[in-house]
């Protein structure tokens, strides 16, 4: 009975909402794929809790009930029961078939990027799609960002010209499907922002893909999830979602800043070459 009560408490906590949500289920709420993973996890967890209670219940009940008693009759010497054994083998198989079906129901929504929303990024040529495997055909334009893990920070390359890139903080427009091409330039890293869906490894020499689509503006934090060296623990990442207008404004500022910095760098190089030539 205590076991059943414990189970009820567990089920209650899972459903208790955001206060306890992260203690029992994965983080979600930023992007639909994270929400779908969360739902899939919860369905699995409910099945798991039933099996857990069954096994622990039978175990504890047997230990209490069938204690040896002085003067008690010796137990029946049972060697097995074929129908029972076939039964629980089939039972386990049926549970797994159910689990497989449920998983396949959610698989498509988790893996395939949806089209951008109506309030997403307005048609803008400098963000034309590059190189994404399964581009959604309908909806507004999507944004494809190259993510590059480096000991111990992330670099984000946006499409278009003049060059646009940033480190640590990735700025993205809301209501827009953002697809990521994740790689790494030194050791294996893993891109992971829990509220925006699962992690993908950045492997040198490979390009790995994922996506997210953020509804509400906000900051979503994550960090590298594959041991990548001594400062692995400090390799954080941040995704800042802003309205498409503010995103375009940011992109313009960032582009201008990069151009200025590059010009300044070129100037310094020229001056240095000149002074070296003079000497």
């Amino acid at each position: 009975m205590a076991v059943v009560a414990l189970g009820a408490v567990l089920l209650g906590l899972v459903d208790a909402g955001p206060a306890f949500g992260d203690a029992f289920t994965p983080e979600s709420g930023g992007s639909p794929n994270a929400d779908d993973i969360d739902t899939l996890y919860k369905i699995t967890l409910y099945i798991a809790i039933v099996i857990f209670l069954l096994v622990e219940g039978v175990l504890i009940w047997s230990l209490f009930t069938y204690r040896a008693r002085r003067g008690g009759a010796p137990p029946a010497q049972i060697h097995g029961n074929t129908p029972l054994e076939i039964g629980w083998t089939l039972g386990a198989a049926v549970i797994l078939v159910v689990l497989t079906i449920v998983t396949f129901l959610y698989l498509g929504d988790i893996e395939n990027p949806p089209p951008s929303g109506p309030n997403g990024l307005p048609s803008a040529e400098q963000f034309a799609l590059v190189d994404q495997a399964e581009p959604p055909k309908t909806g507004g334009p999507t944004l494809d960002i190259g993510v590059n893990g480096q000991q111990f920070l992330w670099r984000y390359d946006y499409p278009g010209d003049p060059p646009l890139y940033s480190y640590y903080e990735m700025v993205v427009p809301t209501n827009t499907t953002v697809t990521l091409d994740v790689t790494a330039s030194d050791v294996v890293h893993a891109w992971w922002v829990p509220k925006l869906g699962g992690k993908v490894d950045g492997v040198p020499g490979h390009v790995n893909q994922t996506w997210f689509k953020i509804k509400r503006p906000g900051v979503y934090r994550g960090q590298c999830a594959e041991l990548c060296g001594y400062n692995h623990a400090d390799m954080h990442a941040e995704v800042r979602a802003v309205s498409p207008e503010r995103f375009l404004a940011w992109a313009e500022r960032q582009r201008a800043g990069i151009q200025q910095a590059q010009e300044a760098l070129a100037r310094q190089r020229r001056e240095r070459q000149r002074s070296e030539a003079v000497n």
Partner: protein, 566 residues
């Protein structure tokens, strides 16, 4: 030597003189040069439990570091070293070889043989293990390896970790791997050829089944990692680029080779523990094991399926969808034979007459703890869910429920169960039960809450976490739990040292057990059996006791719930 071989004749007594028999050295030299499977088994147990203490201390230092956010107790260099040492020690120097130790001691005794098939090879296996352990631990004096027990390139390449630590790790993999392969071949040869008359495959003890499957798995899996670490070694020192993308190699090749070994390794570490409790539960339930054939068959099935699921460790790598689905469904299927085992153990206890001795405590806890790791394993096998949980503390919790909850609890059940046979003395029940409860509370506090850490976004192998991450409470609980767990383990070691001198005399068969190792005296003489009994069922000792009971009706019955010897 002369003096011993030619003892002075006693007048009147029959004279037995042996000529040309070398005298075995005694004392420590006897231990160093022994080829007796029982002594080698005890050497294995002694050495591996020392490594268990080392690995445990490493874990506790890490838990101390994580007890506070932004803790500065350890540098990241030290922490990554500890992560690597702890994982490598527990897997290569504790769980795998401690099972070889139990196997060494018990296989000949349980199958009615006088030694292993190749006694000298057996000694070599042990000393290779020690060589590997020492090579690895000497790296403490320069730079310990810091790439994790998985040593993924390119982090483990010389460009990123140039110091010799990774090379010490490679040497350890080679030496312990060779040790395990030779030991496995020895087990296979022994079990196939040297069983007592009448012990057909269907009458072989379940622990022997699991040691046989363990051995085949080692032979199948270890060459892959031997090849992989050799390639890593040449990458590091001889300019090859097997795993270096700048030279045309591929880091994913390592991951495939590593996990092709690494996943069967999980079953290598857990199946013999299953075998142990399959021996122990029926003895203390005073009832035969339920579904002997199903348990033996499920062991083989787990081993077979376990060869085809390795890439579920790689769900987040760039991998085609069809392969992800194959490995997801493959991993699902393993839940069926493991489920069969759990149900059979429960059915063995069901309507038994359960005698509550320490081995039963540990053995009965195993299904209860293993089911947690098994369930979280199925959750992790769903690859989109794994994308959230992979490389977080959820995974750490999962595999510690398998490796501590199942393997170590099984090993401790085995230690309490077979200690009387090995030493001739019983262990203290009071200390044993104290140790059990501390360990059960400890493992639950340490690892249950780590599921929540992972779900809240804490990756594994991080040396610190920020104070505002909401992870502090979880980590404090886990750290306190880990120290309770550590104390629980130490109580058992105290118990061993105490009982070696002060334990009650055990006699041949203190538990009224089922298998042949309880036939000879405790500890058994060097030749094990003066006469090897004929085996007529899967429970030969029960047959022998029944026979004794028929001849001397006053003695206790077969299913006597309270063995008088204890």
């Amino acid at each position: 030597m002369e003096a011993r071989t030619a003892a002075p004749p006693v007048v009147g007594a029959p004279e037995v003189v042996l000529h040309g028999v070398p005298v075995r050295p005694r004392g420590w030299l006897g231990w160093l040069t022994t080829t007796d499977h029982k002594k080698i088994g005890i050497l294995y147990l002694f050495a591996t439990f020392l490594f268990f203490i080392l690995g445990g201390v490493e874990a506790l230092i890490m838990r101390l570091q994580l007890a506070q956010p932004d803790n500065t107790l350890l540098t990241p260099e030290t922490y990554n070293g500890l992560v690597t040492m702890h994982g490598t020690t527990m897997i290569f120097l504790f769980v795998v070889p401690v099972l070889a130790g139990f196997g060494n001691y018990l296989v000949p005794l349980m199958i009615g043989a006088r030694d292993m098939a190749f006694p000298r090879l057996n000694a070599l296996s042990f000393w290779l293990l020690m060589g590997g352990g020492m090579a690895f631990y000497t790296s403490l004096f320069f730079d310990p390896p810091a790439a994790g027990w998985t040593s993924y390139p390119t982090l483990s390449d010389d460009a990123y970790l140039p110091s010799g630590g990774v090379d010490a790790w490679i040497l350890l993999i080679h030496l312990t791997g060779l040790s395990s392969i030779l030991g496995a071949i020895n087990f296979v040869a022994t079990i196939h050829n040297m069983r007592a008359p009448g012990m057909s495959w269907g009458r072989m003890p379940l622990f022997i089944w699991t040691i046989l499957v363990y051995s085949y798995l080692l032979v199948a899996a270890l060459p892959a990692i031997a090849a992989a670490v050799t390639m890593l070694l040449t990458d590091r020192h001889f300019g090859t680029a097997f795993f270096d993308p700048t030279g045309g190699g591929d880091p994913l090749l390592w991951q495939h080779l590593f996990w092709f070994f690494g996943h069967p390794e999980v079953y290598i570490m857990v199946l013999p523990a299953f075998g142990m409790i399959s021996e122990i539960l029926p003895v203390f339930a005073r009832k035969p094991i339920f579904g002997y054939k199903a348990i033996a068959a499920s062991t083989v099935a787990i081993a077979f399926l376990g060869q085809f699921v390795w890439a579920h460790h790689m769900f987040t790598t760039p991998t085609p969808k069809v392969i992800l689905i194959f490995f997801m469904l493959g991993s699902f299927t393993i839940a069926i034979p493991t489920g069969i085992k759990i149900f059979n153990w429960l059915a063995t206890l069901w309507r038994g007459s359960i005698v509550f001795k320490t081995p039963l405590y540990f053995a009965a806890a195993l299904p209860g703890l293993f089911v947690i790791g098994g369930i979280s394993g199925v959750i992790l096998a769903i690859y989109p869910v794994d994308w959230q949980l992979h490389d977080t503390y959820f995974v750490v919790a999962h595999f510690h429920y398998i490796l501590f909850g199942a393997s170590v609890f099984g090993i401790f059940a085995g230690l309490y169960y077979w200690f009387p046979k090995m030493t001739g003395r019983m262990m203290s029940e009071a200390l044993g039960k104290l140790s059990f409860w501390l360990m059960l509370i400890g493992i639950s506090m340490t690892f249950l809450i780590q599921h929540s850490m992972g779900l809240s976004g804490m990756p594994r192998r991080v040396y610190r976490y920020p104070a505002d991450a909401g992870l502090t409470e979880y980590n404090v609980v886990s750290t306190v739990g880990s120290f309770i767990l550590g104390i629980g383990v130490m109580v058992t070691f105290v118990n061993v040292l105490y009982s070696l001198r002060h334990g009650k005399r055990a006699g041949n068969d203190p538990w009224k057990a089922n298998t042949l190792e309880w036939f000879p005296p405790s500890p058994p003489p060097e030749n094990n059996f003066d006469v090897i009994p004929r085996v007529r069922s899967v429970e030969p000792m029960k047959d022998i006791r029944r026979e004794v009971g028929r001849r001397y009706p006053a003695r206790e019955t077969v299913a006597d719930p309270v063995p008088p010897a204890i």
